[in-house]
Amino acid sequence: MLLGGTLAVAYITDRGDWTTSIRMAPEQPIPFSHKHHVKDDGIDCRYCHTGVETSGYAGLPPTETCMTCHSQIWSNATLTQPIRDSWASGKSIEWVRVHDLPDFVYFNHSIHINKGIGCSTCHGRVDEMPLTYRVNNLYMEWCVNCHRNPAKYIRPKSEVFNIEYQYPANQAELGPQLVKEYHVQSLTDCVTCHR
């Protein structure tokens, strides 16, 4: 019982939302809503995250991108004041990283995007998040789960940025077909991510 209890508490401490910060939106300088910008306004992920197709890092938009609309819309609102302050002073808006991978892991957005892994596969329904939070714990088992069997999670390249994408009933056939077509390798060497 002692051992069982210890393991149970350890498991909960290790996997619980409190430890992994899943579903907990950190406080940001501006309560930015992906729900509003993506779902209500229909703005594509790439409008702001311009680097996601070509670089390892998806890219956080510069203040200029915010000002493209907010120089005219909500241009007197208190909530958007930090944008105008940043624009006037040239100082960065200090956003808090939501997906903070451990430093011993190498990750590259562009290769995933270009091989048919959709944004929502890892980031969840960002279009339904009034405040941004993580839906996956980013543990190694979670990464490896897909690296061992990409056919289960792959989608057609044309659907990568479709946040409402649902896997079709014939994913068991389509998946392996896409894996072959896109030359997806099931990379599970340690050095793939720990380089």
Binding site: P62, M67, C69, S71, K91
Partner: protein, 208 residues
């Protein structure tokens, strides 16, 4: 009772022992993209390029291609080869970056306009139908009126591809009003046909 408390203590201590607390490897002494630093006065670890330096491969000598102008005047031809694939790419980029305000049809009825942004002109306005193609490149590069510059967001050649798609939109509208004659739609003016002979963008009038 006492025994139970001791047992709970042991369980908790053991559990904490099983979940590591040290984060040295997680947070190594290096910067991730855009990480904050106390080293530089502006607090940024990402450094801006020093003024007047030119990065390798970014010496933009081809004035027409990088500014859309020649001798201060908007050019009326495409300085890069435009194929059907380029127009399709232009359509995709247009829908990402332009359609929020200009609308998917380019008529100026985008979603953000309905939210209160000043309405942009329709591409079917005779002024824009007759504008040289370099004008569209120039507007994307430097902004115009209420529109900000997109130079930092859309790479140079993608701006030309977007321009080719705008021409395709205009040509398709012209084709529709001319009874969608097969060849009528394929004659957009002012440089839908590139100088180096790859003028397929005109034929893309029916691409939607």
């Amino acid at each position: 009772m006492y025994r139970r408390k001791v047992m709970a203590g042991v369980v908790l201590a053991g559990a904490l022992g099983l979940t590591a607390c040290r984060q040295d490897m997680h947070n190594q002494p290096r910067y991730k993209p855009f990480a904050a630093t106390s080293f530089f006065g502006d607090g940024r670890s990402a450094r801006p390029a020093i003024e007047d330096t030119v990065a390798r491969g970014q010496l933009h000598l081809d004035q027409a291609r990088y500014t859309g102008k020649e001798n201060g005047k908007d050019i009326s031809y495409f300085p890069i080869q435009i194929t059907r694939a380029d127009v399709a790419r232009g359509q995709e980029r247009f829908n990402i970056f332009c359609s929020p305000c200009h609308g998917r049809l380019g008529d100026g009825h985008g979603m953000i306009v309905s939210r209160g942004l000043r309405q942009p002109p329709s591409y079917y306005d005779p002024r824009l139908v007759n504008a040289p193609v370099g004008h569209f490149f120039d507007v994307m590069t430097n902004g115009y009126g209420a529109m900000y510059s997109y130079a930092s967001r859309v790479p140079v050649d993608d701006r030309w591809r977007i321009a080719s798609y705008i021409r395709a939109l205009q040509a398709s509208a012209a084709g529709a009003s001319a009874g969608a004659s097969q060849n009528g739609a394929a004659s957009p003016q002012n440089g839908a046909v590139s100088q180096n002979g790859a003028g397929q963008s005109g034929r893309a009038g029916g691409l939607q």
